[in-house]
Amino acid sequence: MTADMGTLTPVLTDNWADDRAWTLAAYEARGGYQALDKAFGMDPAAVIEEVKESGLRGRGGAGFPTGMKWGFIPQDNPKPKYLVVNADESEPGTCKDIPLMMASPHTLVEGVIISSYAIRANTAFIYIRGEVLHVVRRVQRAVQEAYLAGHLGKDIHGSGFDLDVVVHAGAGAYICGEETALLEGLEGRRGQPRLRPPFPAVAGLYSSPTVINNVESIASVPSIIEHGHAWFASMGTEKSKGYGIFSLSGHVQRPGQYEAPLGITLRTLIDLAGGIREGHELKFWTPGGSSTPILTAEHLDVPLDFEGVGAAGSMLGTRALQIFDDTTCVVRAVLRWTEFYKHESCGKCTPCREGTWWLVQVLAGLEKGEGAESDLDLLLDQCDNIMGRSFCALADGAVSPISSSIKYFRDEYVAHLTHGGCPFDHAASTVFAPAGATA
């Protein structure tokens, strides 16, 4: 693995292989919770400034500058301020926050404390996807350890700063990864997105100023404070600075989390992962989970930063790189994703609720070889009527795989019609497929 060391930049993942890395003892043995004291030695505004300077952009997908978001909190508002960590990782393909919280929950907890200190919040919430009970338990335990060690509670480290952390388990809705729906859920209501404005920075949780950040964004904060903004900004590209966890899944030899500077290419990452499955070639991939338009082998050298992927017609998103080789039927993959969005549509707005209901039916017909080529135009028109018309961005994500797959693989859709069904051997794309299976 030495060859990888020049490319990878393990910071968040650095301690994952340690013995019982998730315990407080293991974390502190590597110098954990020391960035905290450094932060307490700074003015909260200086902490915000440090994060601004580092160029850290939100790691939850949208890439909004984290320090700027913190700066939006009106400090003259007499209401309490809240930090909410979005740990509702549910995007198909995305697998970075959950392993991070499993392997090193204290990295997150320390980040929560520093971030809360910066925005002057005395209560923070970690909203964890409810289905991952093992992660909920692990973070709960870490928070408990932190309380017992004096990292949480009253007068932390003698700084005079108080912080309580609440670990909240979601109730099973993809939409609650949308920040305002998450707030609704946290307040005990149905998870449906809220009308903005007011934005959460002004009136978020309990109508109070609220910062909502992704797990990875918050977990990156201790290292920025520890090593300084210049260290962080020295990595990555001009407008997408720092490192990030790239989670590779699908048809690669060694799927997993690869932490590297933003701007790395998929070609490099696939090399690191031992290449595509033996005897096969890359067919298509998602740069940031199923909500980002798919890309193909021609995009192997696109720099994986916000600008580079955007220029290629997709989005960096959560760096959830799902790799599909030539055994995969793109129609079938897109249908599965669309079924997911139909199942997860909250129902609040018409285009998402009704649109996904309809898209699934058209796609299911195409996959079975039913319908006509004009159905592709119908699909594209439906996508046009959904994209940008819905209340939140979920529906935009739902149509991304459809419109992008028709763009790159229109012939394959048509082949389903001429073939009278799917021309692929579905077993060939599975992990248990016999080696050397052909498409």
């Binding site: 009308l195 609720r353 209340f391």
Partner: protein, 804 residues
């Protein structure tokens, strides 16, 4: 000429919509600004009286310039977007992008809609149907499987839901939560299976539930009462005014082939906005009950009532009254102002008496004086004033039960986001009612009988001190608390706060204005004022009018029993509503001659000597006067030859009496003639009667160990005689319970027996924040009502655990 506060002195913002420049108040939503230039953007979830939600996305428009030189890259929902200076909006009228966006949404809305318009109640008046025509494609491209549900399900006994028709706009749930404060329906499930649901342990018991049906933009919500009864295009719609309370709600009455099939709220921003109570909406079957009187009757020689012609009945009534000697008039509280005027004039010029009273309920001499001094001819408070008042004090008034539109307006005011916070509601009442809690109101806990002292206590009250920005609303129930109305008048005078009296019945205020009181002539002319008497006598062309104030209803009852009075002309009076039902019955029995004017056969008509069938509100034109003093006129909607307005009957009797040499004819026979005469005589511009104040009575002593002071009022949905005939409506009423303090409830258990001097009742109990020696029961929700079956309000009763 609205006085709505939002419309004065606001900043204007200039926007360009479809190329037309227009200035609208700041914060106006684009969808409403577009209406100003004559463009109707299609919409479903949007409703001007509900918070914006942006759920249906039907109202998408293109914004090439948001006012900052930059446009929105995607179409925007115009129902959630406020205008900005310099904003450019292109709607479906000028923008292909907006038009395609709207057509796309419409197509989505219809894929899961059953398109069962031919059998749907909404078909023909359906916003989905209409807008699918105006903003949708003619043919669907959807060939798949629609979502289906078993149909329909009951949201309440009255409200039915066909889930597959629902477009999930959330108007109904938002109305229930935001306006009525009854969040018992909510959206449940998700995606296309999202649906309106109820919580089984909290039934959808709302006095305003019918409004959800009316604002439903599709046929998803229907009423058990109207479902499958008619098609909208077969109905004749007429504007009218609700007759069930003193709020004067504007309604629309739909009838077909001579029969009313439904009633809807009309839009009157100054009165009821777009809402009405379920009582106003569903309680109209009283006029078509089998016991409706359809011909005059006279008592035959054998003692039975027999049908008679109108002329004969007039003649018999006149002869009987002449023979009976001194006679009195009880009108009841449901007459139109024109009918009340006729009763008032009939008493004075035909019977030569001031013995007339509209009050068929507990009353007092203090109240009689208060009405003449403080209420008649005044209109100090309007609905809009409730929204701007800093504090509104309620005394002897439970708006949710007794004046629904005051409740909705006050709730809106209390939730207002205006600077300085919403209206603070302070209630002088025995406990925190559900209505008060929904207004986030403050309770000044007051035992029955102690209201006068509580009102006086507000002058210097540390927390609820009043000033001239306050409004005091007193209910008719205060009449029986000595000194309470005087204290309210005193409070208003000392603080500068405005005072309004809120009766329960639609005709009450009009009856005061027209002189159906022993101390008032029409137009607020005090009987004891010689100049006022001369003024009225001149207008009526009579030499003189009786000079002394007459008897009130209680005194009339007493005088009939004692024989001082012989004849009685009685309108819509139920003895069980009066302060002493037994005495009222005895008076009717004792009267030597009774003329009854009624809608339906009652115990009064059965005891009467002549019975006249009167026309229900639907059959006659007229006017109600609201609690504010606002006249509300309406036209006749149906016509039935089998009954006549009260005023025509009284005119007939008066003419016969004049033939016999007693009094003068009324001089009018029709509503229009009465209206002309009323406007000719006009209001009194001389001195008002002064309030003969009553000292605040000593609060009733609680020395009677182990007894409870009886608090009571009528619930909105109860056994009232105008509410018969709609089972589904009655089933939505609140179950009658006795309310007791927590300690007493714990001691006595969940069922209690109350015993008073008129009877005993066993009823379920519920704890509430009452004093330990106070019990509350609904006034007309069991048996013949509290007055007949238990005791009079404020008196002491015993309460025992029923299981014990």
């Amino acid at each position: 000429m609205t006085t709505t506060p939002e419309k004065t002195g606001v900043d204007l913002v200039t926007v360009t919509i479809d190329g037309i420049q227009i200035s609208v108040p700041k914060d106006t939503l684009v969808i409403r600004a577009a209406e100003q230039v004559g463009v109707q953007i299609p919409r479903f979830c949007d409703h001007p009286l509900l918070e914006p939600v942006g759920a249906c996305r039907q109202c998408l428009v293109d914004i090439p310039d948001a006012g900052n030189g930059r446009g929105f890259p995607k179409p925007q929902a115009s129902c959630t977007l406020p205008v900005a200076e310099g904003m450019v909006v292109n709607t479906q009228a000028t923008s292909p992008v907006a038009d395609k966006a709207q057509q796309g949404i419409m197509e989505f809305l219809l894929i899961n809609h059953p398109l069962d318009c031919p059998v749907c109640d909404k078909g023909g008046e359906c916003p989905l149907q209409n807008q699918a025509m105006s903003n949708g494609r003619g043919e669907t491209r959807f060939e798949g499987v629609k979502r289906t549900y078993p149909k329909p399900i009951n949201i309440s006994a009255q409200v039915l839901l066909d889930r597959e028709r629902c477009v999930l706009c959330a108007r109904c749930t938002r109305f229930s939560e935001q306006v009525a404060g009854d969040p018992f329906i909510a959206l449940i499930e998700r995606g296309a299976l999202q649906q309106v649901g109820i919580y089984e342990n909290e039934p959808f018991e709302s006095y305003f539930s019918g409004n959800t049906i009316q604002i439903c933009p599709v046929g998803a919500l229907t009423s058990a009462d109207y479902r499958f009864r008619a098609r909208p295009f077969d109905l004749v719609s007429s504007p009218s005014v609700a007759e069930h309370d003193a709020c004067g709600s504007a309604i629309r009455v739909d009838h077909r082939r001579g029969k009313v099939v439904r009633r809807l709220a009309a839009n009157d921003p100054e009165v009821n906005e777009e809402w009405i109570t379920d009582k106003d909406r569903f309680a109209f079957h009283y006029a078509t009950q089998p016991e409706r009187l359809t011909y005059p009757q006279v008592r035959d020689e054998d003692g039975t009532l027999r049908p008679a012609s109108w002329p004969e009945a007039f003649a018999v009534a006149a002869r009987g009254l002449r023979a009976a000697g001194a006679s009195a008039v009880l009108t009841g509280g449901r007459v139109t102002a024109e009918d009340a005027y006729a009763y008032s004039k009939f008493a004075r010029v035909a019977l030569g008496t001031n013995d007339i009273d509209f009050r068929a309920r507990p009353l007092s001499a203090e109240e009689t004086s208060f009405l003449a001094a403080e209420v008649v001819l005044t209109n100090p408070v309007t609905y809009a004033d409730l929204e701007t008042a800093k504090t509104v004090v309620l005394a002897g008034l439970e708006p949710e039960d007794e004046a629904g539109m005051i409740f909705l307006r006050l709730r809106k005011a209390s939730k207002s986001a205006r600077p300085g916070g919403g209206t603070r509601v302070v209630s002088i009442a025995p406990y925190t009612s559900r209505g008060l809690a929904k207004m986030s109101g403050h309770l000044v806990r007051t035992a029955p009988g102690a209201e006068a002292a509580a009102i006086e206590g507000l002058v210097e009250h540390a927390e609820f001190g009043l000033d001239s920005t306050a409004v005091i609303l007193v209910g008719e129930r205060l009449a029986t608390v000595p000194g309470a109305l005087s204290a309210a008048a005193g409070l208003a005078r000392r603080t500068g706060a405005r005072l309004a009296w809120v009766p329960r019945r639609a005709g009450d205020r009009g009856a005061i204005e027209t002189g159906c009181l022993p101390n008032l002539l029409p137009g607020g002319r005090p009987v004891v004022d010689a100049a006022a008497r001369v003024d009225a006598a001149t207008a009526w062309g009579v030499d003189n009018l009786p000079e002394t104030a007459g008897r009130d209803a209680d005194a009339i009852v007493a005088a009939l029993v004692s024989g001082e009075l012989g004849g009685l002309v009685i309108g819509g009076v139920d003895p069980d509503d009066t302060s002493d039902p037994a005495a009222t019955r005895a008076a009717i029995e004792a009267a030597s001659f009774v003329v009854a004017l009624e809608l339906r056969e009652t115990e009064v008509t059965r005891a009467a000597d002549v019975v006249f069938p009167v026309a229900p509100v639907i059959d006659k034109a007229g006017m109600f006067v609201t609690w504010e003093g606002r006249p509300r006129t309406f036209e006749a909607i149906l016509s039935s030859p089998s009954s006549l307005p009260d005023l025509r009957i009284l005119a007939g009797i008066a003419e016969e009496l004049a033939q016999l040499g007693q009094g003068r004819p009324l001089g009018f026979r029709t509503v229009a003639e009465a209206q002309r005469e009323m406007s000719d005589i006009g209001p009194w511009d001389g001195a008002r009667a002064s309030l003969e104040g009553v000292e605040t009575g000593r609060p009733p002593s609680s020395s009677t160990e182990g007894t409870f002071a009886l608090a009571t009022w009528k619930q909105l949905v109860d056994n009232g005689s105008l509410q018969v005939g709609d089972k589904a409506y009655l089933a939505t009423g609140r179950a009658p319970v006795a309310r007791l303090s927590r300690a007493v409830y714990d001691a006595l258990g969940a069922t209690v027996t109350l015993t008073g001097d008129r009877g005993s009742v066993t009823i379920a109990a519920e704890p509430a924040d009452l004093d330990d020696d106070v019990v509350w029961v609904p006034a007309n929700s069991f048996g013949n009502g509290v007055l007949a079956d238990l005791a009079s309000p404020g008196s002491r009763v015993t309460v025992k655990g029923a299981e014990a």
